[in-house]
Symmetry: D2
Subunit: 339 residues, 4 copies
């Protein structure tokens, strides 16, 4: 089966997903394009034989040649577009965040529940990374006993000197660990705290970088997450789960070991693409496969909502300096198997 995908938003990430569908993955094609920048939409469509452009997201969603929708527009537009796709009964892959505000996420959930079946997959791609998957398999197999703690680090070499705020360290970077620890441990996050270590002189003047985010899982498992956006030396994502009888950690990802100039060692990835490209591929292939099979897969609207609710608490904790409880309703039965 070939899934005909309509793509809303063809900035960097949208174009990368188009490349993925047309040049890497199997089972999908891109048949329609929409972007707030009509010229950009036209340029991208020009490289895609058979793809048409639409003036509005609504038109794209209504296009009978579109089986499924990929939303890669900017966050504030997500709610309207995802709800419209749900309304049209079309499956939708929505890049993170599902919506910037948690109440918008709740409205998406309501629309999906009203539609009566799962239609939304949220773009939390770390769940598809071979390292995190092996980590979860080790944990689930009982190889290290019950989990007690997790240590994470999320280091970027640098961020642009302006436009990237301290809040964005939580909402754009930490959101990845927020989702992945919910998935790893199969439970919700109960509270968040934020610590402010010594600032790096390499960070912009108004930016508190690094931060340490503390997450308390419902069971008491404690997660510490070092977030360092100007770490200079590379893009480095680390994680170690400490269990009652052992630990499991992400391994380094270098293909070769080099010995020169009195050093031996491997490389550190240069950026998130370098580190997670295969996870992005696997994520979208999983979406296409589920569509072909008529099922749903991957992170759900509930996962998108939960990430937003925890982000809210973490931002509050950043502002106040206080441990902040996460406020969330019970998970609806509809999403029981979602995580």
């Amino acid at each position: 089966m070939n899934v005909r995908v309509g793509v809303i938003g063809v900035g960097m990430i949208g174009q990368d997903h188009i490349r993925r569908i047309t040049q890497v993955l199997t089972g999908g094609s891109v048949t329609a394009i929409n972007d707030v920048d009509a010229a950009r939409a036209g340029q991208v469509a020009a490289g895609l034989p058979g793809a048409t452009t639409h003036d509005t997201a609504q038109d794209l969603i209504a296009d009978p040649n579109v089986d499924a929708v990929l939303v890669a527009s900017w966050g504030p537009a997500h709610e309207e577009q995802v709800v419209a796709a749900i309304g049209a009964g079309k499956p939708v892959f929505c890049e993170k965040p599902l919506a910037p505000a948690s109440d918008a996420c709740l409205r998406i959930m309501d629309a999906e529940m009203a539609a009566g079946r799962r239609l939304v997959q949220v773009g939390f791609m770390r769940r598809y990374d071979a390292g995190y998957r092996a980590m979860k398999a080790t944990l689930d197999d009982g190889g290290i006993g019950a989990p007690l703690l997790m240590h994470c680090a999320h280091r970027n070499p640098s961020v642009p000197p302006y436009g990237f705020t301290t809040d964005m360290i939580i909402s754009d970077s930490a959101v990845h660990e927020i989702d992945v620890v919910r998935w790893l441990f199969g439970e919700e996050i109960a509270a968040a705290s934020v610590l402010r270590p010594r600032r790096s002189g390499r960070a912009a003047a108004d930016m508190q970088d690094p931060l340490v985010l503390l997450l308390e899982m419902a069971s008491g498992v404690l997660v510490d997450d070092e977030l360092f956006l100007n770490a200079q030396y590379g893009y480095d994502v680390r994680g170690e789960i400490v269990g009652e009888t052992g630990t499991v950690a992400l391994a380094d990802v270098s293909e070769v070991t080099v010995r020169t100039a009195n050093r031996h060692g491997g490389r550190v990835p240069v950026d998130w693409r370098d580190r997670f490209i295969r996870a992005y591929d696997a994520e979208l292939q999983d979406w296409l496969n589920a569509l072909a099979a008529g099922t749903s897969a991957g992170p759900s609207s509930w996962d998108g909502y939960a990430a937003a609710a925890v982000t809210d608490a973490a931002l509050e904790a950043l502002r106040t300096g206080q441990r902040t409880a996460v406020v969330m309703p019970e998970r609806p039965e509809f999403y029981a198997k979602a995580t």
Copy 2:
């Protein structure tokens, strides 16, 4: 573009390539099947909508719905099938060996040169492994200076207790290193010797396992290759190139590090699929991409011939216990850019 592939031979490896083309890669479909076992051909075709079966390889090659041919039959049939595909002007991917006998490989080369363009890619997939590619990149970038030596090990956990001969350690296992060192160093192999270490008690009674194959490159670079088919502990492929100013080695491929019971460490692959599945994917995607672009890529008929010629020398060295020179003609200009 969609390349319509006809597959000759649908045993384990043929079926795996079909799975790859239909479920993993982009740009190809399987439209025709042939196998000496017609019932098996029918069963495989039954799972492929739109695929037809052919009584003979010749019929499959002639099928106008076949753009390109994938040969995964047993080795002795390769020559006739590959030559026929060339004769029909259709590109052909041929699993290793190109042909068991080096003179058969020469005849394939003659047919291809007569056809006037490169039509054959041989299935030496290690060239597509991320580890070997990083190793070659390090070497080519001058990171370790001119190469002088290479140490290899090729360990399988076990082979069937009968049917696997000592000769096959050379022809089926070592052939991978024979090809990959030609590619890594960009030069031919001049001579081969075989050493017989202490036998493992785990090997079949009539099998000399392990072996050490010594390969002398034209430049003098010396390659030692430990071949151990009953290594028990896992499937482990190792390699280290020693250059004038440093070394580069394949890294371990474990996704996580586990600490339990007073040990820390990672996993060793269980078999060749586990270790090289991505390389097989990349190899065949490269073939499909080249076909779509109207070009050729990957290991050529010359590479298939050279591997056969070195295998001949290594088998002679195994029989006689003597260093044996590789006998090869000059590489035709036609294949100048092949390696």
Copy 3:
């Protein structure tokens, strides 16, 4: 020169230091023994040709055949014994803690300052570990830029099922990190907090294990220290300093890598002796060398006091759940070069 050492307290650690002085190190001998258990003192002395026993610590200190005193008695006795040695003008090596109470440490400092020269070395042996020394060298050489954070883990396989309290996780275990981070960063600790992760079911019923201790250095460097006394899998001390341009971490300490049963990896130490025996050797050799040279070396009374003051704050933080500032006077000029 041969330093004649009198040893007060010949329990496990005292006997181990005697073995060290007599069988491993150079430049010292054990000439006098005292223990609250006179029978034990006699037994130990019987194995030491030329060593005499003394009924009291005071007698031992006064013995003209004792050049220097090693205090390995229980903590509450340290103050009186160390002050007496100072009073006699004899150098003293005091096992940690210098004294359980910080005010007792202050009185020792007063006595030493009154004596006019440094006479006390405190037994914080991690400063002599090759790993921590290489870490400090990397930091001091500017190899990772200014330090911002440090992640520590201190894992014991198990502690006795009774008698080991949650407070002792701070006072007996964390005290090692408390000292070593002061030394690594060359600055004092300003505040402490304690987090309570999910309890391990392997810990005694009344014990909160693991804990996470947060230490804020005067400069803002934030240290998190996972303390896990029932980690089962081995004795594992980890540390990573994150600087503005890179990180430096303690490496694993395995001598060999083993590949068996689909795993590759190394060993984890079984206990603190296994991990730190060379550091204990180096520590005491440094003391003997300094005595021979007429100088002083190693952790000072000030370091012993600072560790006690931080321990006080951390225990308060454990009790109250609050971040607790460390209360300390200025470091006297007398100890300016001590750290």
Copy 4:
């Protein structure tokens, strides 16, 4: 007990042993010095309170204040000095080689057997390295099954541009592996071959560097030993034993892992002192301890002889290009427990 050592030969290695005995180890002192360069002997003695100089090695051996002799003179002088020490009934530690010629080693053995007790320890210090000891323990515990192969590499950053001949790669460098594999496997070496890889342009014009030495153990275990004296990048000694069910390899010896500039990794030692200093310490302490206990330890005269006999065969193999059998008599019962 204090062993009074007389040192014959106070060049670099002799002076290093003196430093070791006087400043690092316990149980020994240096009481007498002899050197062919009387001025150098005097200078060294001047720094050793109580040490006297002797005009001849014979005088030193006869000195009643000398309990045991350490021979660190040049190789051709060893036979006469060691035999003289044996004749005087004094234990002797002889730096490698025991003697350059194997027949000289046999004469030393004859003298020792005539004396009726083991008096000679030869300075093969790798047996005392923590890595090799852990490797042997793994092997002896059956952890990898019966050994079949061993891969070794012995890399120096560089050697002086003149004066270091190709022969010396065998006699001075490979001799370490020659001894250590005899000890690891507990058996003799039956034959040697030498391979000549591509020459490094960094080697002196008349030097074949690197070499590969192949050693066949009596049981058939095959050892390949890459010898590369101008490897530039560091001093790197590698080893991996391949057994029937697993492998054991020397681990890297870096104390810390550093992450900077898109690399992670550790250091490679700069020279043999850096790599093996602890092994030298342990070797000489073992000698002193054995003397104190009235026993003997470590590599024997037989081991010194066997190393010479294998070196003879390897040099012959280097000259002729042929596999060369090692010619050795049966090991005398007197040395039965020596290896």
